[in-house]
Symmetry: C2
Subunit: 222 residues, 2 copies
């Protein structure tokens, strides 16, 4: 495992960075959608590409040598801005906005547009797996038993229409470093439709277990 | 189910559109990575956002009313440029470059960078599920028995390092509209490491089955 990275920003610096980061990421999400759906001419596509390359060059003038990783700093907080499902800086993330309930369950909301399509008009089956894996993982964490995915079993009840979606997950009561979590994905476009059910087993590797205890991790900070 | 859309471009028009589309999508992939990894100042982030919004506005001057869908046209070909895993116009797609082998199995390659991170330095467990779902689905199709995901069972053998990856899948021999497919995801960073194994059941809904026969679908065209 890669060592967790110690946060290098103060709480004030981090707060000043959050808003502009979120707005920038949202603009890229919108761009991803536009690139899929545009019917403009080839010369407009070429001009768009040149402008995007210029922006990317500017952003890369000062950058991390690798991926964002997961950063630990302020007591009980964790920052995973690069995460594919919930990362504040990751335009691939819908993002899934997950809330941890007091009873240890979690509920997440997102709206999935053209970029998450598999069959025409429907979410890619793997995208629903992606959202559920994150939600189930967070539910294990919310229950005080965080871990990495060991198994994930998905049952697809019906195709999931693109649009607003809710994901729910909760750990099965138990103890130890192996946690069973169940969840489901519900589309909200035409009333509530349960589209996918999931059951996962999450296991915390010993090395991470010891590190997490040492750092007194409790809640995530994205 | 949404009806398949009849292709409206000629083969020449489509060919002229492919190169610029692929380059534009690649530029957005690079931008997604840069947004995650940039350490530039807030004013650079703001300026980048304004430029991106301008590009998006231009692309949206002429666009599809909804998602891209799946288009049928030239005999035996299918175009899914919006697909989350393989779509030519979808910057979320790594893309996974899948080849159909003569024996009905498929093999896909991709390189996953910072945008596909879950645990620090590793692929998000849900991302590996996303790639496997697509590969297994294509293997069902390659075996002549296409379908939608009914169940997908994933076993995570070890964390998958970010970097180059291979995905393999093949249908279990059989007949009818229910197809079992097995596959695995192998990272290539430090030699070959089998990280995730998958088994899926794919079922073709009757309506799609009839439509596909009518259209004589054989191979996909992205």
């Amino acid at each position: 495992m890669i060592e967790p990275v110690q946060e290098h920003l103060s709480e004030d610096e981090l707060e000043a960075l959050e808003g502009p980061s979120e707005k920038l990421t949202n603009s890229v999400r919108d761009l991803i959608d536009a690139v899929i759906r545009t019917e403009t001419d080839v010369d407009v596509l070429d001009e768009a590409r040149r402008q995007i390359e210029s922006v990317t060059g500017r952003l890369r003038e000062k950058e991390l040598p690798g991926s964002f990783g997961v950063r630990f700093g302020f007591p009980g907080k964790l920052r995973a801005w690069g995460n594919t499902v919930v990362g504040l800086r990751n335009a691939i993330a819908p993002p899934l906005d997950i809330v941890w309930n007091d009873d240890g369950s979690v509920v997440g909301h997102a709206t999935l547009g053209a970029a998450y399509e598999g069959p025409a008009g429907y979410m890619h089956g793997g995208v629903t797996a992606l959202l559920l894996d994150q939600a189930l993982g967070e539910a294990a964490h919310a229950a005080g038993r965080p871990g990495m995915t060991a198994t994930l079993n998905l049952t697809y009840r019906r195709p999931a229409k693109l649009g607003p979606v809710r994901v729910e997950a909760a750990a099965v009561p138990g103890e130890g470093h192996k946690t069973i979590v169940r969840g489901r994905l519900i589309t909200l476009t035409d009333g509530e439709e349960v589209c996918v059910e999931a059951e996962g087993l999450f296991i915390l590797p010993r090395a991470v277990r010891e590190k997490a205890e040492e750092m007194n991790l409790e809640t995530p900070h994205r």
